[in-house]
Symmetry: C2
Subunit: 423 residues, 2 copies
């Protein structure tokens, strides 16, 4: 008999209980549920998924001293989840978790603790919820040398940006996202890129055997994206997505989470709503795309439930050693620069002067008709240039009197998967 | 030390040797290579990937009596590959194979033989080459109840149809595919759907725990698709792909490989060239998409190499019991019917009469301008109707004097993944 203790009976926790009931695997049952204010949870409709023998408790010690074999940690956050997992592993219990922050910051240490105690720590739900990116990579792509991971790892940002692509305003969409439960009251973790950054670090470890410090991964908010950017992006054959990207670069690694221009023919442009997507680029196998529902109780529960089955059956994934690498957010790419100005003679000349001074070459200049002269939005794209070089030029340009808002600089992705010969 | 014997040093076999060399995992080496006319292989450039200690042989017994721990079977076909795998398993060697026909027809029996001998049989490369569909499902989606698998499982057909979508003629594209090595001299296995059918049966087993008899899975050739069908498909917001589909239906299962109309907004319309794609639909997790390079030596070698690592590390996937189910190719779907006629009064009336007689309702009638009256191509779409009912009507319609070619009937796919609320 494999007994599961669920820590946290919220959206995901109750979906996991439902999944255990629906699958009905003989010998696999939810035996314990920990939650604060547990009486309220026990009285909720979701409690119907749990057998009458299960023990409901507000005391974590009840779980740690129980006969449960597996702890499903679905509380989230660094603490106390981290110390609970430590205690569970030391008590000889395997752990399944959806906790991306904890795994991003403390994964290797906790994995070692699990191994030292002869138990398993699985975290398939920590990245992209119900999309089996982590198990797919761990079991099916370790035979390749993965050189780059690009992903749409935050469903909230993808929901906001794909709604904006369809014509809605950022502030309206954010309000809808909050109302629908896709975004927190304080949306900073999502829109600022901090949620995606944790997931990117986990993927870099799993796919590229590289340990990155999440704090060192550069982020850029999506809150500065305006409707006008989607109009100009479309003229460039692109849309805008929050992209998380890690790529081997010299001895270190480029890693960055930022809104970027994505070509419409790129898989990442297909991703709509709260969907997640990961594109893994391998030296031998080329681009592999995983996509699906990254968030929500039921989708996340699929990943947790799959890990619970894996632990119950003693399944194990391939594990290769990792190395720590330094991170840079700097890489050479074409850039999209958007200016909103009170139009006066000499602006373009000042901008091109600032770019030329740092050695950045202009590739195109776009000015759509219909914007008023006193609030004119136009765009410059550059030839491939270092992000830091562009940032230098932007500092200078931002000081021009005519700039009504701070200029926006976005990396432009290039489609470069080698396709087969077509004729 | 884990020693690998490669059976078949062709495109995939030599890529596997390359992958072993590139990854350079300590303790993992190619020790034996079997091939007919082995001297020629040993003299080839690809032999440089193999260490000088390796034994090259034309005798399968040399392999079976060797100290190799794992046999990588890359010969393909039912025989003698099947008896070699049996012998290897009985000799206590684990087996990694890319052999879709063998696994489709004899998978469970060979898995049992492996288990009885305490060794492993992995076949991640048998479906979709370098796209980790099998490991992703086995390790990451067993927690869901998968109700449907839809896939683009044959790169040759996808290459042909996506070239036709771009305006090329079937016969020209087939010739190119043969020249490029994507299609055999006799392309029947690919264009007729027999290759994809084997892969679909493997996916039904892995994802839906259902054993299907490949011979019972209905197929329809893509060779009857004409340029005019892409023009009409486009008017209907669709393109055409060879789709492999299996879906739980009552006590049995609907399974079919056929060219179908695919909505342009469906993931399957994104797939171009020789790419493969699998869309798995789960009761809890919704649609999950896997896509990438399904064929070619290097992509397939990624899957083989990942399985070799898995065996070397003793990795194991979740395994749930399967049940045999009866198969039908019959399901209710809207249909696309294309007629090429020598135009005379009364044709539409005769067609609609034949459809109405079997109870099929017409949804739309499309006739593009510019076709000559003596060779007029037009299209009727129907409301959702059983395939077998449509086939009955087609039998009647085909006998009309004015029909210049046999009418073409294609299933039309409907996009039905529930998306989140969008406002």
């Amino acid at each position: 008999m494999t007994k599961i203790a669920i820590l946290g009976f919220g959206t995901v926790g109750s979906s996991v209980a439902k999944a255990v009931r629906i699958l009905g695997i003989p010998g696999l049952e939810v035996s314990h549920i920990y939650n604060r204010d547990v009486a309220r949870k026990r009285a909720s409709a979701a409690a119907a998924h749990v057998g009458s023998d299960a023990i409901w408790t507000e005391s974590i010690d009840d779980i740690l001293h129980s006969d449960a074999n597996i702890v499903a940690e679905l509380v989230g956050g660094m603490d106390p989840a981290g110390s609970w997992i430590e205690a569970a592993l030391k008590a000889g219990k395997s752990v399944v978790t959806a906790n991306k922050q904890l795994i991003a910051y403390r994964g290797p240490e906790l994995q070692k603790l699990a191994a030292d105690n002869g138990v398993l720590l699985l975290h398939g739900a920590a990245v992209a919820g119900g999309v089996p990116v982590i198990p797919g990579i761990l079991q099916g792509l370790q035979g390749d040398t993965i050189t780059r991971i690009s992903g749409i790892l935050n469903g909230t940002c993808n929901y906001i940006l794909s709604r904006m692509e369809a014509g809605d305003a950022y502030s309206d969409v954010l309000k809808d996202a909050q109302r629908l439960g896709y975004a927190e009251a304080d949306p900073t973790a999502d829109v600022g890129g901090f949620d995606a950054r944790a997931k990117l670090c986990i993927l870099a470890r799993v796919a590229m055997h590289t340990e990155l410090d999440p704090e060192q991964v550069a982020t850029q908010t999506i809150a500065d994206i305006d409707a006008v950017d989607f109009a100009y992006a479309r003229e460039l054959g692109c849309t805008i997505r929050q992209v998380s990207r890690a790529q081997a670069q010299g001895d270190g690694m480029y890693a960055r989470v930022a809104p970027m221009l994505v070509p419409l023919q790129s898989p990442m442009a297909w991703s709509h709503g709260t969907q997640n997507m990961v594109v893994s680029t391998g030296a031998m196998g080329g681009d592999v795309v995983f996509s699906g529902h990254g968030a929500g109780g039921d989708a996340t529960a699929v990943a947790v439930m799959s890990d619970l089955l894996a632990v119950a059956q003693g399944a194990r994934c391939v594990s290769l050693p990792t190395v720590a690498k330094t991170v840079t957010g700097d890489s050479v790419a074409p850039h999209y620069l958007r200016f909103i100005v009170d139009d006066k003679p000499g602006i373009v000349s000042a901008i091109s002067g600032a770019l030329s001074k740092v050695g950045a070459n202009i590739d195109s200049l776009l000015q759509r008709r219909g914007y008023p002269k006193h609030r004119l939005a136009f765009v410059v794209t550059t030839e491939p240039t270092l992000n830091s070089t562009i940032a230098q030029a932007i500092e200078t340009i931002a000081t021009l009197d005519c700039m009504l808002v701070r200029p926006l600089a976005l990396e432009m992705l290039v489609v470069d998967d080698k396709d087969e010969e077509t004729a």
